[in-house]
Amino acid sequence: MDLSLLALSPPGWGGVLLAGLFSSLQLAVGGYLLGLIIGIGGASGKLYGGPIVRDLLEIYTTLVRAIPELVLILLLYYAGTDLVNQLTALLGLPSVDISGLAAGIFVIGVVQGAYSTEVLRGAIKAIPAGQIEAARAYGMSPFMTLRRITLPAMLPYAVPGLSNLWLIATKDTALLAVVGFSELTLVTRQAAGTTKHYLTFFLAAGVLYLAVTLVSNIAIGAIERRARRGMVREA
């Protein structure tokens, strides 16, 4: 194995790989946050919304969780942009250019949103009903209840599921390689193909993904400890 190929400056490809990793992380963070926002909205809608809202959300979560993410990415990336451009043309606006990053964040966000809707719904249902009733008895508005009671109280139940989703998000970014977005997997394939050193580059990419997971685990552990403070330690 020729490690000089991984040097940070040309002729080493390390710089290109790190730039790819940075793109992957941008996608993952953006997609995950969008997914969380959709998830909070979706879970609230499913639990407290009217019958129409519930049915619509049911269709959304069922569809997105049923279709392979690769298909969704191809669908939203090509058909989605086309749709947006047809809309802007109808409104007499100039066609917009949706960057690979924006499209990627949107796709991962929509996918993650469906899963986090279910994770958060489960977590909210685990909160003892008395806590929410007490908030209402104190005259808190629904939004204040959400912010002060529901979100903090459901966090201990949601963290394991949400941390799973985060780790999935970091790896889902690799799917964007199929549309030619220069994230870590695509640049690795290009570097490997150009230099013909497949083992070196794919191992390097594996190490980078592993590093992301290890760093994430530390952060998740800290969040979980904070969320569970004051609760009885299990096992």
Binding site: G15, V16, Y78, D97, V179, G180, S182, L186, G193, K196
Partner: protein
């Protein structure tokens, strides 16, 4: 140096002409996001290099257009063009009737024969008889895939389609396919690499079939872009006439890549 001065001078002229007018959007030129030497491949600093990149620079300078390279997956490059993610394709895309149904092309800017390579240990020729019972590798959605389907489908044991040319070459070196059919120049470039030198050799070029293999490589454009097409055609003609084309081609090829 001269050409740089010329470009600068041209740019200055365009700049003066464009004052007051809305600044033109850069033309996004799509290339397949894969190493396809010697035409387009990424280098270690993440930049795209190769003959086709030089061609793009020359033709865009001549047409006074600002062009930026946008890598796109090969099998999605036509949808990317029609949905306006890119404005032109310069990715060794041959002009064929099939593609002309969806997109438009500029005049051709290069044309090369189609070749077949195989392992050194096996002797065969690039004919239906030679390929009998073999597994043939091609890149998906290329003229070569179509040619193989038309001429070799009945004799070969299997036609394997790959997302990138690089993967097909790699599987040939690994012994998963017995032969690979592609553009003869890009195959030469693989045969010259360390990996290609060890395993494989050229088995010759296939018999031409203009209906499938097309009339050379052109710049892919959307159907309604007649103005852009006119600009590109004029620029191709101009760089052919003023020697720029031959100048940058010489660094890559020892023959006329423009073809007949």
């Amino acid at each position: 140096m001269k050409s740089i001065l010329k470009t600068v001078a041209l740019a200055a002229l365009v700049g003066v002409a464009a004052v007051g007018a809305a600044s033109a959007e850069p033309i996004k030129v799509g290339v397949a996001a894969e190493p396809y030497p010697p035409f387009t491949s990424p280098d270690a600093s993440g930049k795209w290099v190769g003959w086709e990149v030089e061609f793009m620079n020359a033709v865009c300078a001549e047409a006074k257009l600002e062009c930026v390279i946008t890598p796109v997956a090969w099998d999605g490059i036509i949808p990317a063009l029609t949905t306006k993610k890119i404005d032109a394709i310069m990715s060794s895309m041959s002009i064929t009737d099939e593609r002309l149904k969806t997109i438009d092309f500029s005049d051709k800017y290069y044309n090369t024969p189609t070749g077949i390579i195989g392992p050194k240990s096996e002797k065969f020729t690039a004919t239906p008889e030679g390929l009998k019972g073999k597994i043939l590798g091609v890149q998906v959605s290329t003229i070569h895939a179509e040619y193989a389907q038309k001429h070799f489908k009945d004799v070969v044991s299997e036609i394997k389609e790959y997302q990138t040319q690089d993967e097909a070459n790699n599987d040939l070196a690994a012994g998963r396919v017995d032969a690979v059919q592609a553009d003869a120049i890009t195959l030469d470039s693989f045969l010259a690499s360390d990996q290609g030198k060890e395993c494989c050799e050229s088995k010759g070029n296939v018999v031409d079939d203009p209906a499938v293999l097309g009339a050379g490589v052109g710049i892919g454009l959307r159907k309604d872009e007649t103005e852009l097409k006119g600009k590109f055609n004029a620029a191709i003609k101009a760089i052919r006439a003023n020697g720029t084309y031959d100048k940058f081609s010489k660094a890559y090829f020892d023959f006329d890549v423009y073809g007949k």
